[in-house]
């Protein structure tokens, strides 16, 4: 990579963030609402990338963690009317518990087996929500009494600030010693262990970190939309979208996840006139990216820079 001096990379980042923060003065409320949702998706994708890209764990069920956070926060708000911050914190705790639950099999199982367990975790959560419809609203979904804000601009800024904070923390983590050790244990756990790193501890930490961010993002999404339903938060289709976003943006880049999510959601909004075929086109494009640019958008850009 033609290494940009660290300070100029920082400047570019800051400029992009400022430009994004000023968007409410330029674009319509509709586009703004689409972007707001896509920022939360960006956090989902980044959290997934930490697990997959770095720890090497194929998590087919990102929505298990997201859904735990979202539904816990929503139910607590519905039943006890606690302040939003408390609800989100409880949602994050539930997600961590879920992350630990997933980390357990991940330490014993490999590849497709673990992937299947995560898939089953989503299906079980989905079924549990339908069975306990009295509290969760079942298949119809539930509404929460509190929302983050009724002002679209404020909601957008909340989402943006959240995305930026998550991006900084996750990116920093991935570039730190922890990120390196995770990458090492993802690629060759035995060798990493032989070098004296505690693989188990790091993997569990990766699951917890991924879970915290997924859970908080899920909970905030609920308070942004004022509602939660299985189809919009937990369905396997949503999890697939998160995975597509992360792969589209570029594995092992963290920031690529956010980029991929924004591109993916804007693209599917732009293609909405196609109706049913919308999903078809989006999947086809994602497939083409996987076949021809397996490093993803950001990965490809970085590679191109490297070659120059």
């Amino acid at each position: 990579m033609t290494r940009l001096p660290r300070s100029s990379a920082l400047w570019i980042g800051a400029l992009v963030v400022i430009a994004m923060a000023l968007l409410p003065f330029w674009v319509s409320a509709y586009i703004l609402s689409v972007l707001t949702a896509s920022y939360y998706f960006g956090v989902f994708a980044m959290a997934w990338d930490l697990l997959f890209g770095f720890a090497g764990e194929v998590n087919f069920g990102p929505t298990f963690l997201i859904g735990l956070g979202a539904y816990t926060a929503g139910i607590v708000d519905n039943q006890y009317g606690l302040p939003i911050v408390v609800c989100v914190a409880l949602g994050a705790l539930a997600a961590i518990a879920g992350g630990l639950l997933l980390a357990l099999p991940a330490l014993r199982l490999r590849g497709p087996y673990f992937g299947l367990v995560t898939l089953v975790a989503v299906l079980l959560l989905q079924n549990a929500i339908v069975i306990f419809a009295g509290v969760t609203g079942g298949e119809i979904g539930m509404t929460v009494p509190d929302v983050l804000s009724i002002d679209g601009n404020v909601n957008y800024w909340y989402a943006l600030a959240f995305l930026v904070v998550c991006a900084i923390i996750l990116f920093g983590l991935s570039r730190s010693a922890i990120g390196l050790i995770l990458q090492a244990s993802g690629q060759d756990a035995v060798e990493a262990q032989a070098l004296g790193f505690n693989v188990t501890k790091h993997k569990i930490a990766a699951f917890c970190i991924s879970a915290v961010f997924s859970g908080i993002a899920g909970a905030m999404l609920v308070f942004y939309e004022g509602a939660a339903s299985v189809d919009t938060i937990i369905d396997i289709g949503i999890g697939v979208q998160v995975i597509i976003a992360a792969v589209l943006g570029g594995r092992r880049t963290i920031l690529g996840g956010a980029l991929g999510a924004v591109v993916l959601i804007l693209a599917s909004e732009a293609l909405r006139p196609l109706g049913q075929l919308n999903t078809f086109v989006v999947s086809a494009v994602a497939l083409a990216v996987i076949l021809f640019f397996p490093d993803g958008l950001l990965g490809y850009a970085l590679r191109a820079g490297e070659r120059e």
């Binding site: 997959f52 497709p112 087996y113 640019f293």
Partner: protein
Amino acid sequence: MLGLQILIDGFAIGSLYGLGAVGFTLMFGVSGVLNLAHGGIMLVAALIGWLAAGDLGLGTYAGTLIGILAGLVSAFATYFVVVRPIQRSKAIPREETEIFVLTGTLLWGIMIQVGMAYLFTDNPVTMRPLIGGIVNILGVRTPYNEIMIAALCWIAIGLLWVLVNRTQAGKALLAASINPRGLTLLGFELSNIYLLVWTIYGILAGIAGVLLASFLGLSSANAGQLTASAFSIVVLGGLGSVSGSLVAAYVVGYLETITAYLVAPTLRPIPALILLVLVVYIRPQGLLGRR
């Protein structure tokens, strides 16, 4: 009476599940590919078969054959458009091929599902039964079609057994699942073997799709569910183990039927999922898996 009913229905469903899962597990054993577009391929077979039998007026039997052919064609499309380019790509690191095949076939399956929903809507379609009539087995009214489906499944599985164990090509297939490198050293072209396994897989998935449409009915919304159930049956039985898959198919078929009849139809998939998680925790190689 109810017990016998469960016994009969569970057997038919288990046979269908088995047929669907056998091709899936064979493919994994031989070429290491987990095809997440599995449900999509069954769906294509069912919908095209239904179209040919009904609207095109070709009758049930011709429709069934055309449906199986459609399953075969879509299996080849999956191989040539998605799986082979990923396996041969130089940009994808070797150790990540597996996850790319998973993601690629997953996307491909979504494309098939959505494309089919666009062409055929997502109303469930039901093939006309292969044969009509009802027989009374010790007081349980059983459609001949149900017996016929179970029989057809076992004929297909039996033919597969003969093919794998008694023919030259089949033995090469078996050898490829044990040691692919050894096979290439003996002068076999591995890509021909992959082609053979995709052919077998396409036919089996096609038969399973058409028969499922004739037994329970099938809609494009089911594609993901079908993939998930084949995947879990195969893992339950042990990845790559054909006999394990058959045992697991009946275990899941009966568990689902028992739950549906005795507890509640809405809880139908849950016990099988819980069993799956338990088995994966306690015995990751599955019921009859090697390793």
